[in-house]
């Protein structure tokens, strides 16, 4: 809370890093004093608010016309908004709305939805804008909201519901958490008459409403703030009549005391736990999200039980409160700030005309949605405190644990983007987001607004506060020692969230979403020596091109970068004065260019620190012409298809052609998009699709030793000009080769031809291969010895057999061509060699073992779904990615699919939203003179529309000097993923057994280092800090993963594919692959369920991966990322089998079942909605296998039960004992 309101440079003051836990006391104090609080908020709040208005949202298509933008603000400000508002809203919100309902376990009456959008609430026309406010202290939120000019805009017509996470935070005394979500929201058509001055009041009211009424709507995904706990457990009493509001606010500080005192009570803990679980459930939902194409998703979270008619309640509440004037007087601060707002707004109006003068006058159009709402990731990574109550014996003994039984993790957040981004003003949205075809919701994802029950009860209060208690407890929760061997239920009931870096609130709020950017240690050790002592891997995990629902896109003539290290300006730089800023990576002082002084958001001059670049840690620049020496390449797609006998027999052509036909119009690209096809068996066939031909011409080249292109100009044709021919070809292809007897496959020459074809432009080559290449260059021999599959000793042939594919990939990479490999084979195809073609050209690899379109329908379905995603997802061409970090740190060893062109520059011919990367770091110089380190990833690419764009992510982390702090900040999931990547490298360069030993040693070393340095109790027991308690479990899971397991029969291709996935998957997907989630689904209830899109999605607790949890009477769903299994026990209730599976009894369930029938029963509906919900959250649709107990397929299922013993591997407990033994040695 370092930023005083009045200070001209809030950013600078924000730099001051919070020391670990140091801020707690001050935070608590701040809210109590009413006077200071408002000030504090004013500064940051304004900044943030402005940001949103600045950009319009861009849709993925990037269509957003800049013209609109300029108009937007003008319109907004003009008072006669009423009509406009209506228009905007109607336009925007035509979209289907989602209601997310949360069943809170507590079932408290009070919880109502904050707002409902859409049909149920007739008078609420508007949608929510979420504006992120950085609220430092809870007490002050009112002020903040009032002071924000933009929010006020909204307010005019809306009665915005501002929700602040702060209040809870403040009560905690945890300054860092405070995030302020201001959701400017509900616009009420009914209240158009609200006068301007009163508007701000509306804001306040809105805030009041939210905070006090506790329906707390809060975006589930929030990143920076207070964790979900806080939100959920928010103890606030029922919404008081407006007059009371004021009082309540002030009383916030009072809550603190209550909560603290209450902490010790067991009952409160219970509550807490429940709350947490509830909240988690909500968080999971985020992903909910609808189809990528769908428009803004609004979810209303409502506790179903509280009142049946949610919508009505909302509207009612809003209406009552809307008379804002009463509230208004309450806040003196507000009134003061208002005038300024007005002024600003006027300024905006006037300036709007001038803006057109410059060529691209900073039209900040923000838009661009990912095609995917990243639900999944959000849920996984969103900070949720450990909800698990953890009945752990150790806790009793540990002094700290008693004080903070629940998750003291600073909850924070997961997605900066969902709402991290300041939401758009409605006007902007309107302009930018034509809801046309596949556009994404431009809305901030407010998908999950949670509301919680408002309960006056002390319990809740205490519980909510308990969650936040981190700072005050003597020891942070993440350091609580856990006795691993005695802790039976180590796995929490709900998904594990990314830890939140211990930064001050301002920085936390600005920090990059853990979905895009994660570090294995959220507290960076000061020196390499300290890092070595901790024995933990240090590295970053990146998902840079993730689909985002909202992303500020900045068009500006000058992109401001540090002159010496070329870092892009970011939220963590400090402004020395108005004209100079200091780079946070190299500490050079740079000038602020003239253009940067002008803030297009506010149309004001002299506020460089309020520019969107400085307000968002993830931004996208549209690069100026400096960044390209040749015109951006068009989207070019080439399909290289195996049509040998084997391929025709497998029948993939039908599926591929069908998918292509369906998605031809959805291929990303502009009018220049080109497409081409090649097929090959022992010869290579080209297809002339030149416009003007009556039908496609097939050209056969049989000289595979010296491939040439028969007609270089007409093989890659414009998609739109030759569409008819392309369709003809796609219709004809599946049947063209039905009688082929050619069994050879000349993949190498075909790739050479493809390379020649693509070299002039670059683009994407999709290769479909079904067998071992047997002719021409790059031919391969079978290297797998089936008898060695289950060998425990040496696993050979993990590396490529020939350099051909690697060289080809490098050539392709040089020509900006990526090769994506689809391997659909039933026998060994030497993926280890073939994969090189994708690995080094930044392609991706898909593998469908034993693919057959009729014999193996589940694979066929998977291919179909994968293709749909593959063909329609975003793509970036001729990309390069550079990662920079603060001086003193250095990067070495990158993981992923790319080619490293110079030590810190990754060359990516293509970038796709499903690609993840990892980097290892080392500390070269001591970081003693800095308290923060930053990492910046810049990804420069050509969008499918031919625009050069730069996406920049910046992550900021604190530096610590004590070992305990290092352990407290471990992000165990990130660490595991990094270790997995390192282990893959090790097994290829050395041997698999080396890699396995290294994994075990990683656990042994880190736990023994912890035991000998930090923990001072019970040396005989196997102790781990709470942050590391899942470490051994995950490592064991890795050891039993296909990539690294030994002793279990594993086909070489399967193993290699698993390794490829480890290298190229982003963290969220990788974690699910390593450690699947198991749920019991035969007793789904609505308890804790969430509502998504009018569907109830039950939220069963996670089960540990052990057969001990499988009862014969149950049915279990295992979510392995790319595949789902439903295991049905022999004694499973016939009702379940009949209602959900559609068969009368266990015996009649068929062996191969891959779909759940759509039955009109409650349990079927629940099961299906749960599965659909899980599915929607990931890019590649997983296939479902229903596995009967006793069926041969159950081995597949049981191999994922990693806590159990197998013939070749330890059980979890044995593994712990083994580790303990190693430590004692």
């Amino acid at each position: 809370m370092s930023a005083p309101a009045g200070s001209p440079h809030p950013a600078a003051s924000a730099r001051i890093p919070p020391k670990f836990g140091g801020a707690a006391a001050s935070g608590a104090a701040a809210p109590a004093g009413p006077a200071p609080a408002p000030h504090q908020q004013n500064g940051p709040a304004q900044n943030q608010m402005q940001v949103p208005s600045g950009y319009g949202l861009h849709h993925q298509n990037y269509i957003a016309p800049s013209g609109h933008y300029s108009q937007g603000p003008g319109k907004m400000t003009s008072l006669p908004l009423d009509t406009q508002c209506g228009d905007y809203y109607s336009a925007l919100y035509t979209v289907p709305t989602q209601n997310v309902t949360v069943n809170t376990v507590n079932q408290q009456p009070g919880a109502q939805q904050m707002y409902s959008r859409g049909p149920p609430a007739p008078h609420i026309v508007g949608s929510t804008l979420g504006s992120f406010q950085g609220a430092a202290s809870s007490a002050s939120h009112l002020h903040t909201s009032a002071s924000q000019p933009y929010s006020s805009f909204v307010n005019h017509y809306n009665s915005p519901a501002m929700y602040s996470a702060n209040s809870s935070v403040a009560s905690q005394g945890f300054p860092s958490t405070c995030g302020h979500y201001a959701m400017s929201t509900v616009s009420n058509a009914a209240y158009p008459s609200v006068s301007y001055p009163s508007l701000p009041a509306g804001d306040t009211y809105g805030q009041m409403f939210t905070s006090q009424s506790a329906p707390t709507i809060r975006p589930v995904k929030d990143n920076s703030f207070s964790g979900q706990n806080t939100a959920i457990s928010h103890p606030l009493p029922l919404p008081p009549p407006p007059s009371q509001q004021h009082q309540q606010q002030q009383s916030l500080s009072g809550y603190n005391t209550l909560t603290w005192s209450a902490l010790g009570l067991p009952s409160t803990q219970d509550n807490l736990i429940r709350n947490h679980t509830g909240s988690l459930a909500v968080a999971n939902n985020n992903p909910t999200i609808t189809d990528s194409l769908s428009c803004p998703v609004m979810q209303n979270v409502q506790p179903p039980k509280s009142s049946p008619v949610v919508s009505t309640v909302l509207s009612g509440s809003s209406s009552t409160r809307t008379p804002p004037t009463a509230n208004h007087p309450v806040e003196p601060v507000t009134s003061v700030t208002q005038p300024s707002e007005l002024l600003q707004q006027k300024g905006v109006d006037s300036s709007s005309t001038t803006s057109s003068a410059s060529p691209m006058p900073n039209s900040y159009d923000a838009l661009e949605g990912g095609s995917y709402p990243d639900m999944l990731s959000s849920s996984a990574s969103s900070p949720a405190p450990d909800p698990a109550p953890e009945p752990d014996p150790a806790s009793a003994s540990a002094p700290a644990s008693a004080a903070a039984p629940v998750i003291p993790q600073p909850s924070k957040m997961a997605k900066p983007f969902g709402y991290g981004y300041p939401t758009l003003q409605p006007g902007y949205q309107n302009a930018t987001a034509p809801l046309t075809s596949g556009v994404q919701p431009s809305n901030p994802v407010y998908s999950g607004f949670q509301q919680y029950p408002q309960y006056p009860g002390v319990n809740q209060l205490s519980s909510s506060l308990g969650g936040l208690s981190l700072q005050s407890s003597p020891q942070p929760e993440s350091l609580r020692p856990v006795n691993l061997t005695q802790e039976r239920n180590i796995l929490p009931m709900t998904p594990v969230w990314a830890p939140v870096p211990n930064l001050n609130a301002d920085l936390k709020k600005l920090n990059c979403s853990p979905d895009s950017f994660r570090c294995t240690l959220t507290n960076i050790p000061q020196t390499q020596a300290l890092l070595n002592k901790a024995k933990l891997p240090l590295g970053l995990l990146l998902h840079p091109f993730r689909d985002l629902t909202q992303l500020p896109v900045i068009t500006s003539n000058t992109i401001v970068r540090c002159r010496s290290c070329r870092t892009y300006i970011n939220p963590f730089v400090s402004f020395i004065d108005q004209r100079r800023w200091k780079c946070n990576l190299c500490y050079r002082v740079n000038d602020v260019p003239e253009e940067f002084m002008y803030n297009p958001l506010t149309r004001s001059y002299g506020e460089p620190h309020k520019r969107p670049e400085v307000q968002n840690s993830t931004v996208e620049f549209i690069a100026s012409s400096d960044y390209m020496l040749r015109p951006p390449q068009p989207a070019v797609y080439l399909f290289v298809l195996d049509v040998s006998h084997n391929a025709v027999e497998a029948g993939y052509l039908t599926i591929l052609c069908q998918s292509l036909l369906e998605n031809l119009d959805k291929l990303p690209g502009d009018s220049r998009t080109r497409i081409g096809f090649m097929t090959f068996d022992s010869t290579i066939h080209f297809y002339n699709l030149q416009e003007g031909l009556s039908q496609p011409q097939m050209l056969i080249v049989s000289d595979i030793d010296d491939v040439f292109l028969p007609t270089p100009d007409s093989l890659l044709v414009n998609l739109y000009e030759s569409k008819e021919l392309i369709k003809d070809l796609l219709n004809a292809l599946p049947n063209m080769f039905t009688n082929t007897r050619e069994t050879h496959s000349a993949l190498g020459p075909a790739l050479q031809a493809a390379f020649k074809l693509m070299s002039p432009t670059g683009g994407r080559v999709s290769v479909f291969q079904t067998q071992l290449p047997s002719l021409g260059a790059g031919l391969l021999q079978s290297r797998e010895d089936p008898n060695q599959r289950s060998s425990t000793k040496v696993v050979q042939h993990l590396g490529p057999a020939t350099d051909f594919y690697k060289k080809l990939a490098l050539d392709c990479s040089g020509q900006q061509t990526a090769v994506d490999l689809f391997l659909l084979s039933s026998q060994y195809s030497d993926l280890a060699s073939l994969a090189c073609m994708s690995k080094y050209s930044a392609g991706c690899i898909y593998y469908y073992p034993s693919f057959h379109y009729t014999h193996n329908p589940s694979q066929a379905e998977k291919l179909q779904k994968d293709l749909k995603r593959y063909l329609t997802r975003k793509i970036g061409f001729e990309a390069v990615m550079r990662i920079r970090c603060t001086k003193g740190l250095s990067m070495h060893t990158f993981h992923g699919n790319f080619f490293v062109r110079s030590t810190d520059l990754l060359s990516l011919a293509n970038i796709n939203p499903d690609a993840g990367f990892a980097v290892q770091l080392s500390i070269e110089e001591s970081l003693t003179d800095t308290s923060l380190v930053c990492f910046q990833t810049a990804l420069l690419y050509t969008s499918s529309k031919g625009e050069r764009r730069i996406r920049v992510h910046t992550l900021c982390l604190p530096v610590v000097s004590s070992l305990a702090d290092v352990y407290a900040g471990v992000d165990v999931q990130a660490a595991i993923c990094l270790l997995a990547n390192m282990a893959v490298d090790r097994s290829i360069s050395s041997s698999l057994s080396d890699a396995r030993d290294a994994l075990v040693n990683a656990v042994v070393d880190s736990l023994s280092a912890y035991g000998s340095t930090v923990s001072n109790l019970q040396h005989s027991a196997l102790m781990a800090p709470s942050s590391l308690k899942l470490f051994p479990l995950y490592v064991l899971a890795l050891l039993k993963q296909k990539a690294f397991r030994t002793g279990t029969s594993t086909r070489l291709d399967d193993r290699v594919y698993a390794m490829c996935q480890i290298k190229s998957q982003p963290l969220v997907h990788l974690m699910r692959m390593i450690h699947p989630n198991l749920y019991r689904i035969d007793r789904l209830t609505d308890e804790g369920a969430i509502h998504v899109n009018d569907r109830v999605v039950p939220q069963p607790p996670l089960q540990k991966l052990s057969a001990e949890k499988l009862t014969r009477e149950g049915a279990f769903l295992m979510d392995c990322g790319s595949v789902f299994y439903i295991w049905v026990g022999k004694g499973c209730d016939n009702n379940f089998i009949e209602d959900v599976l559609g068969y009368p009894n266990f015996a009649s369930i068929p062996q191969k079942m891959t779909h759940l029938p759509e039955l009109d029963t409650l349990s079927s509906e629940r099961a299906r909605s749960f599965i659909t919900w899980l599915r929607d959250s990931r890019p590649l649709s997983p296939i479902l296998h229903i596995v009967k107990d006793e069926s041969p397929a159950k081995a597949e299922f049981f191999q994922h039960l990693i806590e159990d013993r197998t013939e070749a591997a330890f059980s979890y407990y044995e593994f712990l004992l083994h580790v303990q033994q190693q430590i004692c040695k």
Partner: protein, 183 residues
Amino acid sequence: MAFTFAAFCYMLSLVLCAALIFFAIWHIIAFDELRTDFKSPIDQCNPVHARERLRNIERICFLLRKLVLPEYSIHSLFCIMFLCAQEWLTLGLNVPLLFYHFWRYFHCPADSSELAYDPPVVMNADTLSYCQKEAWCKLAFYLLSFFYYLYCPFCTWISSALTVTPSTHSLDFMNVWWSLLRI
């Protein structure tokens, strides 16, 4: 000490050692070239430059690979010569490097026929810094051994001169040697 086979060995190794020193220097330069792309960041991102850069990397790696065998064989030749000349001390000094070279040569990661210096591998910052360190160490070793080969015969002569009356032969040898040093 006469102008023996051992002396011949030293002379030959002196010459070859100079060649190895050049190799080592070339390696250092090559790795430096690989490590840094001397273009401005904006140029680096330019696809045209990307092509050039990639070609450059491949060319350097190709040359590096070409130099591996000559370097290793020259060094093993030293060892064989010193073995034949029964210069145990010199041999002992060279054997560790010989083993290291064997290890490098036969410890190739994959089944692939390529030795080290595979572009994707070598561009890894870790590998690159390792290679660079290796090159510097080798440079130091070769330089030291260069002077060792230069002065070792002299020392042997001195020691033999102290114990045995110098014969005309040894003087002959010394003359040859001195003339060599004077060059």
